[in-house]
Amino acid sequence: MSNDTVVRSRDTTVLESSHDGGQWLSALGLAAVLVVLWEAAIHVFQVSSFVVPAPTAIVRSLLENWTALAWAALATTQEILFGFCLSAIVGVLIALVIVRFERFGRALYPLIVLFQNVPKVALAPIFILWFGYGLAPKILLIIVIAFFPVAIDMLAGLQSVEPSFVALMRSVGASKGKILLQVRIPHSLPYLMAGLKVAITFSVIGAIVGEFAGANAGLGYVIQFASTQLDTPLIFAALVVVSVLGLACYAIVERAERLMVPWAPKFESTHA
């Protein structure tokens, strides 16, 4: 009976992973075709480079400006790193406080949901006003944008422990704190990781928006600067770097998820 289930789950994993591999290949192929079509269209219709640059023009700009782009990427990465880590901490703490101090949590939760409805991007100019052009306003903006998915997902994880299991723990005299520490928190980790994956993409957005609002470094700053110069190839080059940076950040968080919560259903095969 057990053998059956194990074999079956393995089979589906094999099926899915080969399916995934195929998907990646065809996606790359499609992308290549689109880039070639793009390049061809620019030349055929003689589109001006400052309206839409050809892929080759973007690559040229990337190569010409790579030191400036690298420095900008470093600045943006720094903002993302600090902003993301702090949003994770803030989100986790809020979830823990809401669960641990129920009465306070009941008061806090609606306020957080209310705050979520404030358009965060509109806060960027205020943060610039308060903290100037440096790192602080960007980090703050990332936190207000990215803490929410972390808090909500972590909270869902903490609260979704089977009530009968809580009864079982209570039946052997376990305190609320002990249940939180030994059951609720480990149980919530897959949920937390899902929240962190959303938070990391929000962090990238937050960093770029923060730089738009006022900065003297970073990829968002490069994009704004390039647009004042009508240097469209550089805008696109910076966009390419932002995308690669975002993908890399996401990949790191996903990797961490596999390491930290191998029991999450999705990764059943890793310990089979």
Partner: protein, 278 residues
């Protein structure tokens, strides 16, 4: 097994002793939207030590609530409950009560033996990890899971997960095992396997077992006594002793005593269902 654990009481199905669980005039009220709802009323129940009794009744009739009262998870609004002469909360503290629910609720990040040892380690801060694991391994053997100690819950079938949950409660070495539809989520054949497993454990350990079920077959096959519950008001409408001879096995299902008890229970349940609708 270390000396720290008490040996199972020397007792077989044929020798049944003094009352172990006693309920007198128990009533439970739930307050819902400021309205008082009587969920259980006038429950008198005696379960003798080492006995195996089932509570059967239509769903929502309060049989799970009654089990929770015995487990000390719900305090009765009226009446008194004692388990081994103690109030349920104290019996729980003294680790006299083991619980098994419909869902196995294993911790997915722990393997079978870690799960089986988990409650014991939470309950007893003084027990060493090695001793708890020894005990858990012995209980996994008892429930027929030898060799599966290192498997993760996701690698176990529903029946095997429920066996781990049973081993987890048995690891506490409770005198009383309270089971709330423990096989309710399993398929028919697995249920029968689990019933046999449970019967064997009962015969070997002499625990007092109270089983909540809605399966007539299960109740008759396993129990020495079945309490039929009716709803509105939720109370025990009849107590039926089961005269099915031991040892019980696959052939017991064909025994005339089984058929007779099954027929009687079916009649009572249909009657109580009909009353509920009116």
């Amino acid at each position: 097994m270390t000396a720290a654990f008490k040996q199972p009481p020397e007792q077989t199905a044929s020798s049944v002793a003094a009352p172990h669980i006693v309920l007198r005039g128990v009533a439970v009220d739930f307050v819902l939207e400021r309205r008082r709802n009587r969920v259980l009323d006038a429950i008198d129940l005696d379960v003798r030590k080492g006995d195996f009794v089932s509570l059967i009744g239509p769903s929502g009739c309060g049989k799970s609530t009654l089990l929770k009262v015995m487990a000390g998870l719900i305090s009765p609004s009226e009446g008194s409950v004692t388990v081994a002469g103690l109030a349920p909360q104290h019996a729980v503290k003294a680790r006299l009560i083991g619980l098994v629910f419909q869902e196995a609720t294993l911790l997915p990040w722990k393997n079978a033996i870690e799960n089986a040892a988990f409650l014991l380690m939470v309950a007893d801060g003084a027990v060493s990890r090695a001793a708890a694991f020894d005990r858990a391994a012995a209980m996994l053997r008892l429930v027929g899971l030898e060799g599966a100690e290192k498997k993760m819950p996701s690698q176990l079938s529903g029946g095997m997960r429920q066996r781990v949950a049973l081993a987890r409660s048995l690891a506490l070495d409770p005198e009383v095992l309270l089971m709330d539809e423990p096989f309710g989520a399993l398929d028919a054949i697995t249920r029968e396997e689990m019933s046999e497993c449970l019967l064997e454990i009962w015969e070997r350990t002499g625990k007092t077992i109270v089983l909540v079920t809605h399966s007539i077959d299960e109740a008759v096959y396993l129990s020495r006594e079945v309490h039929v519950m009716g709803a509105n008001p939720a109370r025990i409408i009849e107590t039926l002793p089961i005269h099915l001879p031991f040892p019980r096995n696959g052939e017991s299902y064909a025994n005339p005593a089984f058929k007779a008890a099954e027929h009687r229970l079916r009649g009572l349940l249909i009657e109580s269902h009909a009353k509920r609708r009116t």
